[in-house]
Symmetry: C2
Subunit: 453 residues, 2 copies
């Protein structure tokens, strides 16, 4: 493939390709080789990876090839090329967390979810770029749709590598908007599960809203990765873990959807709103009832209480990571960004009593949202105010992703819209522990709206 | 101090000593120097430490001395010499987890609870010996009461260092019996809090029953350490954390206590039972009503269901750590003990569905125990079947500590008895999130029973 050839970002779903593996028409190794060609072309342009393990990846793909040939794949994702956000531990590669304080640092173990992926046969291509400590300071990754634009963050490299077709799925994390936002900006599927649904042991974020997020090339791939993880390691210790079937739940038409116009909605781009309104019109004409703040008091009340979502989330996170940031400041403040130093400063005066009050308020908001389940199957909104903004010094506005983070509920970004040549996702927000339902409704909505794209 | 001088194990409570700091009659540095003399004498005999940071400890004690002199201590434990179980991360010392697989390994950060201790002014003497991965393979620590005997495990070095007077408190962990058992064997106070009550981030155990345990030289010291930790880092992310006042809750006479004769009771030593029965007699004659399986159906039902406590706990732990052990086996099975290899094997066939069933059963048992709160203020039992057994190849029977671990409730071991020259603890078991009540009752009981020791 000549370097001069202009390659467009294109998702490369794995489960669809895997249908050809049993017959030998294609092999996981061949699938990986195409990934690596794309890596060669894209990586100098987008900088999605911190490091790679290509020989190990090829060896793993060969083993997967043998297993498929023998009709004994370890799982449906056996051989799938995946990326791992560099905030998540890997036994065979450093985990640098986007910080010079952890340059070359090795955990000497896999995170639980990485171990699960290996046991399912997934092929780990490399560690993907994260912002500093999965917070806001970006580390140079570019958007494959336009390399002058941010891919979003903090799962920057995970989203970019899936969008570029290098990986069919990549692990991210989300505590504010770190999976849904980059998924939207890069035009891949993004899944932030119910809080605690995927065991986070060995992921270096320390917050109660943190989730293992999945960036995927298809809904099918995304669900499958989540399922293969939970089947092997469960949810966070002591929790039941992601609930649902062992393949993508069948598409289900929602009876009623809530439209959430949360904080920042008035700042959404005109064309973003236009796409969204058109989507709503099509949902309505397909017989889906739409509830908004104008015709549903519960929606109105939820929107009002969610105005505080970002502030409350940041306060929770601020308290929960303060000890870690103190430790880093003491190690070497000169190796921390202005961004993170400001953050470390901001929540200095919080007390445990303050934090308990915040947790109580969060529980109240969560309970309000849970009540909506009585009337609406799910909520929809945009995944971001618009396409990825120009520049790579800022990962973009996370406001639209915050509500699901605060609520601890599943959210999906569906790559359905385009604004000025950049992707924009429709976001579906489900209910706690009902991640499978969220996929079922998302699947139906995606089919409907993708048809005339 | 001549090496030939025979030193007896003696607890060195810090808060009592700190009363002299304001006047300058004694200083934290002087308190530490005595700790270090004791370290010099004891360490070759008991092997409680993996590594130490003595220059840093002296510097920290000097700073504490200045603060007390200025009337501005960082907290009530400012200057307290503490030990940190080597399964817990420290930024300035390796964290080896009792495993050659982590020889010299550095986390490059403090665990949350270690950071909290530093911010409260505690002086970290060193990392204390843990069994391999805080499981059952011992690493050579000896009991200061008789160096031919085990100190118990897995918080072996933490208990031994407190018993020897080197530290006034030490952090341990407990998931089966790792705090209560060594506290009992070494004759110090042991506190296993309600599950989630102290933030465990940076502690390398991955189980839903795991707790940060505290080995302390007095009830007052033990509570204070727990309080200073929670005030700075809270509970596990998203939980309210240890509830209670900022100094030891005042002693409170229980109206009614349940006596729990759980699995293994029939194997308790005759002299252990004798001490326990005498204690019950004294409680009764002091007007405390005693409920047993003979006069309380709820106690009888709870005892019956707790017969399965060890098996159920081990199954939960087995599932929850399987991914980690797989990872270690793949790194180098030759560096793992037979004990841990057997454990890794034992739960191979468990599925997520099995684990969910176990969690459900555990929740059922917990609910049964919670009901007992309607009639009994707390439960009492022995902390171990007897004194520490001879030999250091086995950390002793943990059976008596398992129920509180399974139940996720606070437990305290009170150094009240002696069996053949070895200490034995009375165990008090409280109710979830009511750790302060457990201390209040324990305090009253300890005062009553210690009087005629």
């Amino acid at each position: 493939m000549p370097v001069s050839e202009q390659i467009k970002p294109a998702l490369r779903p794995y489960l669809a390709a895997a249908k050809t593996f049993a017959s030998g028409a294609q092999t996981p190794r061949q699938f990986l080789e195409r990934s690596l060609e794309l890596f060669e072309w894209w990586e100098p342009r987008i900088g999605a990876f911190v490091c790679t393990g290509l020989p190990a990846a090829r060896a793993a793909a060969d083993k997967a090839t043998e297993r498929w040939r023998a009709g004994k794949p370890l799982s449906a994702i056996d051989g799938m090329p995946v990326g791992i956000k560099d905030i998540i531990e890997t036994v065979d590669m450093p985990t640098e967390m986007g910080s010079p304080l952890f340059a070359g640092w090795r955990s000497e173990k896999d995170a639980a979810n990485v171990r699960a992926l290996r046991e399912a046969g997934a092929v780990i291509v490399g560690k993907t770029v994260t912002t500093e400590f999965a917070a806001s300071e970006p580390r140079g990754t570019r958007n494959p749709w336009n390399t002058a634009h941010t891919p979003g963050g903090s799962s920057s490299g995970s989203a970019a590598s899936v969008a570029a077709g290098i990986a069919s799925a990549a692990l991210g994390t989300q505590v504010i908007g770190s999976t849904i936002r980059p998924a939207s900006f890069c035009g891949c599927f993004g899944f932030k599960p119910s809080v605690n649904a995927l065991n986070r042991e060995g992921c270096h974020d320390y917050q109660s809203q943190s989730c293992t997020g999945i960036l995927g090339a298809s809904l099918e791939d995304t669900w499958q990765v989540a399922h293969e993880i939970v089947a092997r390691i469960g949810g966070d210790a002591g929790t039941p873990g992601l609930q649902g079937p062992d393949v993508l739940p069948p598409a289900q038409k929602p009876r009623r959807l809530a439209v959430l116009e949360t904080a920042g909605w008035e700042g959404a781009t005109a064309s973003g709103k236009e796409h969204f309104n058109e989507a709503i019109a099509r949902l309505k004409s397909s017989g889906v009832e739409i509830r908004t703040r104008h015709n549903d008091d519960k929606v109105a009340a939820l929107e009002t209480v969610l105005l505080n979502a970002a502030e409350l989330s940041h306060r929770c996170n601020g308290w929960e990571t303060r000890w870690f940031l103190h430790c880093m400041v003491e190690r070497d403040a000169g190796k921390l960004s202005r961004n993170i130093l400001d953050r470390a400063q901001k929540y200095e005066d919080m007390t445990l009593a303050d934090h308990r009050a915040d947790l109580k308020e969060r529980a109240r908001v969560r309970a309000m949202h849970a009540e909506l389940a009585g009337t609406c199957d799910a909520s929809i909104t945009l995944a971001a105010p618009g396409g990825a903004p120009e520049g790579i010094a800022f990962t973009g506005n996370p406001e639209f992703a915050v509500p699901a983070s605060l609520l601890g509920v599943p959210a999906l970004s569906l790559p359905l819209f385009e604004v000025g040549g950049m992707p924009l996702g429709l976001q579906l927000i489900g209910y706690f522990d009902r991640d499978a339902d969220a996929f079922a409704f998302a699947s139906w909505i995606f089919s409907l709206l993708a048809r005339r794209r």
